[in-house]
Symmetry: C2
Subunit: 356 residues, 2 copies
């Protein structure tokens, strides 16, 4: 891309904004989109014609490989507006690195850093009115790549489209999150694509998650596919267990997404002198800790919900309830994270990234 | 669907056929498409407006769930023209049942049988000139379903599109197929989606298959994700091993596609009084059989290539060559299958399905 002659970002602005049509007090997560989107095509061996244009439909062949072979990866990140109207991203470098890591695993060409950041910041600047200030409000940003070559033979595409969509989001009230610990279905295996944000990982979870929902649980905590003995992560969140005052979480592996929120929580905990163990966490020890009262909290960590406390888990038909912790670790890390994200506190780790 | 008021199949014919533009002697698999395609949308809880229309691009939101969450399944089947110009499908009921099985696993609503068969046969009749007679020529048929609801929240789509594309295919000369036995990467795990023809299963294989290609091998034979001790299947083929005069193949499980060619080969073998064992086949026993000379053949079985003999396999850096068998099982089953498919022999199992 750096050597390409087509690298100048083209900008086609909307004639009039749709922002007045949007009810910012009643947003369904991920269903309204800002005025502009970013598009860049890969063909003839290079990323070409990076363009910001009005959000709108694609014209694409029904034989495009993405529809048949799921050759697609994505990212999820957020922009926040502080009380002075400045807009900040949170650790965008992590998402940049991760989408390329996902792409490599899916045999998709990596995307150039300069184009990614220019597109991202230009887009956020253009649509900055869509980022509302106030605790919990944010702009959810969705970079993704899809295979666009026409052809139904099962081989890597020679053409791709990299896009960025943006969607205004409100505080994501997850309510009482109850989870089921998986003992039959699985999300990923050693040597698979679990560590990639590959599109197919998500569709594959819908059916078992529906089964959990039918029983009154919102999410599944996945376990290792071989024996279902170790706790891994939830559908869109990494998971932490607080046993007495120690925080436990599964180590990064090729089965688990290396979450930005996860690594931020770990950094905050260490900074606060809280003991953190990144190691295989067995179902047996968590069940035992629930029984003997040493299990104080379980919470999910991810961009969409930030920190999501778990109020109960079910394992092999037994339900274990967790006592509500007003001043627990979940509350504390959520506040510390959001204070950094909304520019209300110091940023000792250099996580904030000013856009405008 | 049966209760729907919109169930009549609408047919929009092309004004003029593109068939003259196609060089039927130089077809790349899956890249040319016939004049018509089938489309049917699911919304408000039912499949609506089944339509056959000219093959052409879709207009679809970049926020459609298929692009983000890989909620998509497909099928692959073929039509054959006999020497009298009649066109036949091969066991289409199997593909109908399997796409719905795949859909259930991906939380996609099942498609009604009557609409499937009416669409399929009407489409093949309309485009029957695209099915060329002669050994190896066929029409490859690709039914598939994609999630079309707009929204980037990770939950099942409320809207879908069921489509059928058709692509003329020539004898698929696979040449000398050499395979690598997987000892690190994996395709699927217990409790996963390996038994479904889910789009994401295929994109996930491209990277490890590229690694095999770089070493001069065309395909990977996947092994169990837990320990890589048992042989499962190849990327788009089930796999058979002939040890002395016994045929071995992995049993159907939730990790393996229940291949139509596989079950047809098993039926033919049993009918020919050849011993077939459907049981876990260990890498160790096949390596041992290769060493002691009792391993006579390995072949893949799948719709695209029918039967594909394997000339060598690599396992942990050692290459095992197989002697070419002119009159082996692979040759025999390929002939028996194709004789049935092209209406050149009896059809004792009732596998042929006359279209026109
Ligand atoms: C499978 C999975 N695990 C964990 C996460 C959390 O990662 P992050 O904190 O980077 O959003 C996500 C969501 O992005 C995810 O999809
Ligand atoms: C993973 C996989 N295994 C096996 C097969 C062979 O199945 P069939 O004989 O039904 O084409 C296919 C191709 O369809 C496949 O995709």
């Amino acid at each position: 891309m750096n050597s390409s002659t087509n690298q100048k970002l083209e900008i086609q602005k909307v004639e009039s904004s749709r922002i007045a049509e949007v009810d910012f007090n009643n947003l369904t997560f991920g269903s309204a989109f800002t005025d502009h989107m970013f598009e860049c095509d890969y063909k003839d061996g290079e990323w070409q014609n990076p363009t910001i244009k009005p959000y709108g439909p694609l014209t694409i062949s029904p034989a495009a490989k993405v529809f048949h072979y799921g050759q697609a990866v994505f990212e999820g990140m957020k922009a926040f507006k502080d009380d002075n109207g400045k807009v900040w991203l949170f650790r965008p470098e992590q998402n940049y690195l991760r989408i390329n890591k996902s792409s490599v695993r899916l045999a998709i060409p990596e995307f150039p850093r300069d184009v990614f950041f220019e597109a991202l910041t230009t887009l956020v600047k253009l649509d900055k009115e869509w980022v509302k200030p106030g605790q919990g409000n944010s702009l959810y940003i969705r970079p993704f790549v899809i295979a666009t070559q026409v052809g139904v033979s099962a081989s890597p595409s020679s053409e791709y489209k990299f896009m960025i969509l943006m969607s205004p989001a409100q505080a994501y009230y997850t309510g009482d999150v109850k989870v089921v610990i998986a003992d039959h279905y699985s999300r990923s295996a050693n040597g698979g694509v679990g560590a990639a944000k590959a599109a197919g990982n998500y569709g594959a979870q819908f059916f078992p998650t529906n089964l959990a929902r039918e029983k009154g649980f919102q999410q599944v905590i996945w376990t290792d596919a071989s024996k279902h003995e170790y706790l891994e992560e939830a559908g869109t969140m990494n998971v932490f267990f607080r046993v007495n005052d120690t925080l436990l979480t599964a180590p990064i592996s090729d089965r688990i997404l290396d979450g930005v929120t996860r690594k931020s929580v770990i950094a905050l905990a260490k900074n606060d002198n809280i003991a953190v163990e990144e190691r295989p966490v067995s179902v047996a020890e968590i069940v035992e800790a629930a029984k003997n009262g040493s299990l104080k909290e379980i919470f999910g960590a991810g961009t969409a919900a930030v920190i999501s406390p778990v109020s109960a888990f079910s394992y092999q038909e037994t339900i274990y309830e967790l006592e509500k912790q007003e001043d627990g670790f979940a509350t504390r890390f959520k506040k510390e994270l959001m204070d950094i994200q909304y520019n209300r506190s110091e940023d000792p780790f250099g996580w904030r990234y000013e856009v405008v």
